[in-house]
Symmetry: C2
Subunit: 151 residues, 2 copies
DNA sequence: AAAAATTTTTAGGATAAACCTAAATTTTTC
DNA sequence: GAAAAATTTAGGTTTATCCTAAAAATTTTT
């Protein structure tokens, strides 16, 4: 029924950004704001929002901004889970400071496998928060103590 | 003097592959072999080799394969250093097996910063080899004990 | 060493993801 | 409701991939 959803790294960037705006800063997600955050022209953002809408990740209303759909929220949380567990690793294991950890995690999160972040998650006893105290979202496949993972 | 060298993730894949052929398997690097490894048609490989040659990363002789230039070797080693230190992390800290570690490292190596891998390197006391016993190439900026890194 | 087989390259395209400017449209503000 | 601001549309450009089919070079076979 559902053709596998392919998200580019750039689309992922927007999803994370939109999620943080909509759910964590609780503000409307407008084109110009996104354009400034990403560092592109507004027209470029519009194009991206239309693409995300076509993929069913956001509800886009011309001239009025976007909201993540359920599917979009799930994707964003998957990405932010990866991002934040990488931050946990960098801060706790490598003594990175929070800011550096975030920068590095941003480069890698999209590419990290679910298995990798689940292993990190288990290793640290399923942390509830990342180093900057935002939520580490749950993955129901991620259970158990540090040892058991195989494949 | 030297305009900053921009390598795409795909180009990086070829560099790693060519390096391993040329220096570790000690065999000639031919188009068809690369095509099979990467999973594309020979014509696509030819195109890539020409691009790598333009960037000064390989010496390419029509119909006779490629050799990495000094610049190409340096780039390849930088990438393989990242790759192998990520493997070290995954195997030693997350108990990954060698094969899984390699797969995961392949997804991330290109995107990992030099600072990240140097921190891993320091944390493990500058390991000489990766889990599959290949060399971890040196970076002269990578010195010292586990603690001192800041910024 | 010539013919046949194989490998490699060239030529000519296709596609997808970004990004842009300028003009048109809609919304917001005064 | 007019002016200002934000947003979208239209029409392009660029870059990186990848492809097929035909041509060219190399290698193998006889």
């Amino acid at each position: 029924m559902s053709g596998k959803l392919r998200i580019t790294v750039n689309e992922a960037k927007y999803l994370k950004l939109i999620y943080r705006q909509q759910y964590e800063k609780l503000c409307k997600v407008k084109t110009t704001l996104l354009a400034r955050s990403v560092g592109v022209r507004p027209a470029t953002v519009t194009e991206m929002l239309q693409r995300l809408a076509e993929k069913g990740l956001v509800k886009y209303t011309r001239y009025h901004g976007v909201k993540l759909t359920e599917k979009g929220v799930n994707e964003a949380r998957k990405l932010l889970r990866k991002h934040r567990l990488l931050e946990v690793l960098f801060v706790r294991f490598l003594d990175y400071n929070v800011q550096k950890a975030c920068v590095e995690a941003s480069k890698l999160d999209y590419y990290a496998s679910e298995n990798l972040v689940n292993t990190i998650c288990r290793t640290y006893g399923h942390p509830k928060n990342c180093p900057c105290n935002k939520a580490v979202f749950c993955d129901e496949r991620c259970r158990g103590e540090a040892k058991e993972e195989r494949t």
